[in-house]
């Protein structure tokens, strides 16, 4: 198929994205069981960050390569005047990239819409109440199904049904709200959106489900740890709150972008057992690990950019991309 200059760029970018994403994604998928095993030995917060980084790595790596190598080499070295033939492989890869992006964007938009709808409905049903010890108001909903959730991506708010407020003691309610605050501080709903936006290897495949499930579990555990802050009594209060809310009945998750205190089908038993062991607060030294990892990643990215901007690299890359295109 003969395409003009801008469409060829789009086609090349999508095809490159698909192929690089496929290679990085396969590597990530093969590494995921080992990564989950390794995560079990880390503190939940660190484990969640590790798994999130691993899940987003194929997407980030592919975008980085396309933006840093494919686009500059094409703009600099491809002659603008002519219309050129684009090969079947390139077109097929570009279509696959379009399909995986369309699916993930539709999935994320669907979840965001459901989340917004839930927030609007909950705000109609409830009213904002300033609970003791809480910095921001909590929406208490009258006559709503059993729920205690954190909804919203940029400005997450806590929504709680009257049944839950009535069922929990003051300490249990405070512990449950601290749990949701921990989710808000770590921006877990935004991370959920990123996970939904990150495409899978192929349309309609779910190769990263193991990592995503493990991330969700560690994010819950991290929020539990954040809520109790190593205090045994708070641990017991949160454990009791979890059991009490679970007893009120199953609470279906209104959207994948909503964090529920007790998720239907989640590992309630494991969470309660952890809280009863009164997990001590993480040592300060453990915080240096993510800082070091982030520093290392920035250094690697900066070196890669320096190499990618070199004329020899761009010429070599352009030759490779020409082969892919034709």
């Amino acid at each position: 198929m003969t395409l003009p200059y801008p469409l060829r760029l789009l086609c090349l970018c999508l095809a490159t994205f698909f192929l690089v994403h496929l290679v990085l994604g396969l590597g990530t998928w093969l590494l995921s069981p080992a990564a989950v095993r390794m995560a079990r030995r880390l503190r939940p917060g660190t484990a969640a960050r590790l798994l999130l980084s691993l899940r987003l790595f194929p997407l980030a790596g592919s975008v980085f390569l396309v933006a840093g190598l494919c686009v500059p080499s094409y703009l600099w070295l491809e002659p603008r005047a002519s219309a050129e033939e684009v090969g079947f492989t390139c077109l097929a890869a570009a279509l696959m990239a379009g399909a995986i992006w369309a699916i993930s964007i539709a999935r994320a938009l669907g979840a965001a819409t459901r989340s917004l709808r839930y927030i609007r409905r909950s705000q109609r049903l409830g009213r904002a109440v300033q609970l003791p010890g809480e910095l921001s108001p909590v929406w208490v909903m009258e006559g709503a199904p059993v729920s205690l959730v954190l909804a919203g991506i940029l400005r997450p708010r806590v929504f709680i049904s009257r049944a839950v407020v009535d069922a929990l003691s003051a300490e249990q309610l405070a512990a449950a709200l601290r749990h949701e605050r921990a989710h808000r501080i770590s921006r877990d709903n935004l991370k959920r959106l990123l996970l939904l936006l990150a495409p899978d290897l192929f349309p309609f495949s779910r190769r990263f489900a193991t990592i995503e499930r493990a991330w969700a579990r560690f994010a819950e555990w991290a929020a539990d740890d954040g809520a109790v802050a190593g205090d045994s009594l708070r641990s017991l209060s949160l454990a009791a709150a979890l059991v009490r809310v679970a007893r009120l009945g199953p609470a279906p998750q209104p959207s994948p972008l909503v964090a529920c205190l007790v998720d239907a089908g989640a590992d309630l038993s494991a969470r309660v057992e952890r809280l009863l062991r009164c997990v001590p607060p993480g040592e300060e030294s453990a915080r240096t690990l993510p800082v070091m990892a982030a520093g290392g990643m920035v250094a690697v990215a900066a070196s890669a950019v320096a190499v990618m901007m070199h004329p020899v690299t761009l010429h070599t890359a352009h030759r490779l991309f020409e082969q892919l295109m034709h």
Partner: protein, 143 residues
């Protein structure tokens, strides 16, 4: 619901009686055995002929294989315990689903209730553990 539960119990009872179940348990545990081997292992004393009849009945129901050793039969389970449980459950569910529509619905409803009861039991267990931990902390907190 009560009808369904009694039907579950009835069907398993119709398939195997208490003594038959006991004998099957012994054979699964000890493997190939003759009537002579089974009689002393039973918790209550039973006549040799009673045990012989029971083993023969199990053989006729297709649950045991037997071979002649000297002048007596030696019996061995044809299915493992797991295979038998699987077959029994499968037969029971198939029987229900083949019956009028209401039976199938009742079966699903009973299963949901059973799962709910299990959840309740788990929550009770967790609550008990929380209470014990609280007591332990209170004890430790006292001078």
């Amino acid at each position: 619901m009560r009808f369904l539960k009694s039907r579950i119990a009835d069907s398993s009872r119709a398939l195997l009686g208490p003594l038959e179940i006991t004998v099957m348990e012994l054979l699964w545990e000890h493997g190939e055995s003759s009537v002579h081997d089974v009689v002393p292992k039973l918790a209550r004393p039973l006549a040799y002929t009673t045990v012989m009849t029971t083993l023969d009945r199990l053989y006729k129901k297709g649950l045991l294989d037997r071979r002649k050793s000297e002048r007596a039969f030696v019996y061995a389970p044809r299915l493992s315990r797991r295979e038998w449980e699987h077959k029994r459950t499968g037969d029971f569910v198939a029987g229900f689903l083949a019956a009028p529509q209401t039976s199938g619905e009742m079966l699903v409803s009973c299963l949901v209730e059973a799962v709910g009861q299990q959840d309740e039991a788990l929550l009770d267990e967790l609550e008990k553990k929380i209470r014990m931990k609280r007591k332990e902390l209170c004890r430790r907190g006292k001078p």
